[in-house]
């Protein structure tokens, strides 16, 4: 289950991170929070929990005054215009395990949030200290950016500070500058409603006419041999960003072949074919596995080509005269 406020505070103390804590009545907005801790100096934080069309989630944590344009952010992440929107309420509880109005970078301490990407306002670094909710809206803690970094590193996260107000051009020759912050895995919520999130008018404001069936990422059953090296639970989470992995490719071929062999070599078939079993088996392999393996190989080929193509188009020509 999710960490509690107390557990978090204890963790911060253990890590010897300096922070101050302020209790106050439950607040749901930055304005309300400001009433209680606005005079303590430092910067209040504004925290957005966002989701993109492929069910990948993001926390954008900024100073209260920083203007965050979701359209720009979406483009900088490489998701096109209107590629991100506010995540639905259920996601708050399911993924971040915090109540409404309590989005905070500290929510990443929860396992359920391991695939959520965190974008931090570089403005935090200019403040002596900043205020965040410690997993509960009835308290605010203030700490400086170094403290936050220490906490994040302790849970295995590299802090990413971003100039959230920047609006760089994104195009063919200018790749999206925040693309690396897109999570490699999406998160499929249980009982995800089929229509788009009801709480939010889509940013682009247009509705696909014929089709209201919003497609959640397809339920890909991971094949049993796929070595989930990170030990991720295999519950319909699609594989991370595919690349031409030779070992995996060969492993899958071996697996399919041996499965077929196992099913074909039985007492009866040995009795039936005797010495000819080898020939029979290899014919079977060819017939039954042929197209399967070709499909796998095609995916591999296309992936490898794409890698090369991508590298080629981003190739920086050597400057004449330099070594």
């Amino acid at each position: 289950m999710g960490h509690s406020k107390q557990q978090l505070l204890a963790l911060l103390q253990e890590l010897q991170i300096e922070f101050s804590q302020y209790e106050h009545p439950v607040v749901l907005t930055v304005e309300a929070q400001a009433k209680y801790v606005g005079n303590e100096g430092g910067g209040l934080s504004k925290n957005l929990f966002l989701k993109d069309k492929k069910n990948r989630f993001y926390i954008v944590s900024s100073l209260a005054d920083t203007k965050v344009d979701l359209k720009v952010l979406s483009q900088r992440l490489g998701l096109g215009k209107g590629g991100v929107r506010m995540a639905p309420e259920e996601a708050l509880g399911e993924i971040l395990q915090v109540p409404l109005g309590c989005v905070t970078p500290f929510a990443l301490v929860n396992e359920s949030a391991r695939d959520v990407s965190l974008l931090l306002d570089q403005g935090f670094k200019t403040q002596e200290h900043c205020f965040f909710h410690p997993l509960s809206n009835d308290m605010s803690i203030s700490l400086n950016a170094n403290g936050l970094d220490k906490f994040l590193k302790s849970i295995g996260r590299e802090p990413s500070y971003v100039d959230l107000e920047a609006n760089p051009a994104v195009g063919k020759d200018q790749p999206p500058d925040l693309a690396s912050l897109v999570p490699s895995s999406s998160i499929v919520l249980p009982d995800q409603p089929e229509k788009q999130t009801s709480s939010q008018a889509p940013i682009d404001g247009n509705h696909v006419s014929a089709d209201n069936k919003s497609k959640v990422v397809p339920a890909v059953k991971p094949s049993s041999n796929e070595k989930n090296t990170k030990g991720k639970p295999a519950n319909n989470i699609p594989p991370s960003r595919p690349f031409a992995d030779v070992d995996k490719f060969v492993e899958e071929i071996m697996h399919k072949t041996s499965t077929l062999l196992h099913s074909q070599i039985k007492e009866e078939t040995i009795k039936q074919h005797g010495e000819q079993l080898g020939t029979v088996l290899s014919d079977n392999l060819r017939k039954n596995l042929g197209s399967d393996l070709k499909n796998l190989a095609m995916i591999f080929k296309n992936t490898a080509y794409t890698e090369g193509f991508h590298a080629g188009t981003h190739h920086q020509p050597k400057r004449i005269g330099s070594s």
């Binding site: 490489g78 096109g80 215009k81 209107g82 682009d204 247009n206 696909v208 006419s209 014929a210 089709d211 209201n212 069936k213 497609k215 959640v216 397809p218 339920a219 890909v220 059953k221 094949s223 699609p238 594989p239 960003r241 595919p242 070709k294 499909n295 095609m298 995916i299 080929k301 296309n302 992936t303 080509y305 794409t306 890698e307 193509f309 991508h310 188009t313």
Partner: protein, 403 residues
């Protein structure tokens, strides 16, 4: 100026069934009469000799869609085969109008067949995404059309096209240059009245619609793709698609010689029936009318069991006595599309037709077949990244396109 070849006038009053790129409906809600259609359009049926020739030229069994008569009609397919035998290659051209994100099995059929042709004949393919057409005909913004085009491209790629021999393009990106020059060449040779005759335009239709047909016509000409076929102006084109697209290509074949180009050849498929039966309409807004490529195993099981129209009898006794009506039975029809094993299908045809096999068993087998298919597709789809789409759609040479 009349056309040399086939009748192009659509007489709406005498119309019993309607088949054109924007509407397909049978007479009195019945089945499409393909013989009448072929006669009216003026194309020809494929026969066993074509299959044998294909098998000989490609050294492999003909695709299940050919064997089962799903791709059943053609224009000048023999010429393609003749040229191929002489050592003259050809290229494939097909496309999709990206009107929805959800693709169902029927949408995949032309792509599955085209992939087979690419592999068997070792030829390149161009795939057109008519995002402009959907913007013009449907209530979509340009942005949404473009987005849908890219999303559909991923499902198309998942069908297994070889990136070293495939060029996917969206009209909004690609129209211009040599492509546009060909478009205008075509446009200049089709009068407004002819367009009305072929496509049924009225005075109320906006000029975007009227000027669209050349866009779909010119991928048939290799000079539309100078980065792919430089200097190969006489490379032949084969267009495998659904038969409702014939009006575009009748027009194209009529115009081609007048521009000095080769006529494209076509090979046509029949329509994929809705779950509820031939008279049912497959509609993107009714999720139960079709199996979607995003359906889970559970969805497939439910849909087939609940909604697939059965040709079996009402009671088991009656069924054992009379057998199933295979003409209207959807599970059997679907199996004829997707069950590769000819012997097994024949067995089912006999047993089910005689009443010895029950609908439940046939449905069970179909569920197995479709689940495997859909899962394979989903796995392939998951491997398609945006970078891969960019690579497939990049204007780049394909040096190994005939290897």
């Amino acid at each position: 100026m009349g056309t040399q070849e086939e009748p192009t006038v659509v007489d709406k009053e005498e119309e019993e069934q309607v088949v054109n790129p924007w509407e397909v409906s049978a007479k009195d809600g019945g089945k499409i009469d393909y013989d009448k259609l072929i006669e009216k359009f003026g194309c020809v049926r494929l026969d066993q000799s074509h299959l044998e020739r294909v098998e000989r030229l490609t050294s492999r069994p003909a695709h299940v869609f050919l064997r089962r008569g799903i791709f059943f009609s053609h224009r000048d397919f023999n010429e393609i085969l003749d040229a191929y035998e002489r050592g003259d290659k050809f290229y494939l051209y097909t496309g999709r109008g990206p009107s929805s994100e959800a693709l169902h099995l029927g949408h995949l059929i032309p792509f599955v067949f085209n992939k087979y042709l690419q592999d068997a004949f070792k030829v390149p393919i161009v795939i057109q995404l008519t995002d402009d057409e959907k913007f013009l005909w449907k209530n979509l913004t340009i942005e949404e059309s473009c987005r849908l085009a890219r999303e559909n491209a991923k499902d198309i790629i998942a069908c297994g096209f070889d990136i070293s021999k495939t060029f996917i393009f969206a009209d909004f990106d690609y129209v211009g240059g040599a492509f546009y020059k060909n478009m205008v060449q075509v446009a200049k040779r089709v009068t407004y009245n002819q367009a009305v005759g072929i496509f049924g335009f009225t005075g109320e239709d906006h000029i975007g619609k009227v000027s669209f047909p050349p866009v779909q016509a010119v991928p048939s000409f290799p000079s539309s793709f100078p980065h792919l076929f430089p200097g190969k102006d006489h490379l032949r084109c084969l267009i495998p698609c659904a038969i409702d697209q014939d009006p575009y290509f009748r027009m194209t074949r009529d115009v081609a010689p007048r521009i000095g180009y080769q006529k494209p050849c076509m090979i046509y498929s029949s329509f994929f029936p809705a779950l509820q039966g031939e008279s049912g309409k497959m509609s993107a807004s009714d999720p139960n009318s079709a199996i979607y490529v995003t359906d889970s195993a559970k969805d497939i099981k439910t849909k087939i069991n609940k909604y697939a129209f059965s040709g079996g009898q009402d009671s088991v006794e009656k069924h054992r006595q009379l057998g199933a009506n295979l003409e209207v039975d959807i599970p059997f029809k679907y199996l004829s599309f997707f069950l590769e094993d000819d012997l097994e299908l024949e067995h089912i045809r006999k047993e089910y037709g005689a009443g010895r096999m029950l609908t439940g068993e046939v449905k069970q087998r179909l569920i197995e077949v479709l689940t495997e298919l859909v899962e394979r597709h989903q796995k392939a789809r998951a491997a398609v990244t945006d970078e891969m789409v960019d690579a497939f759609m990049a204007i780049r040479p394909l040096p190994h396109m005939f290897d």
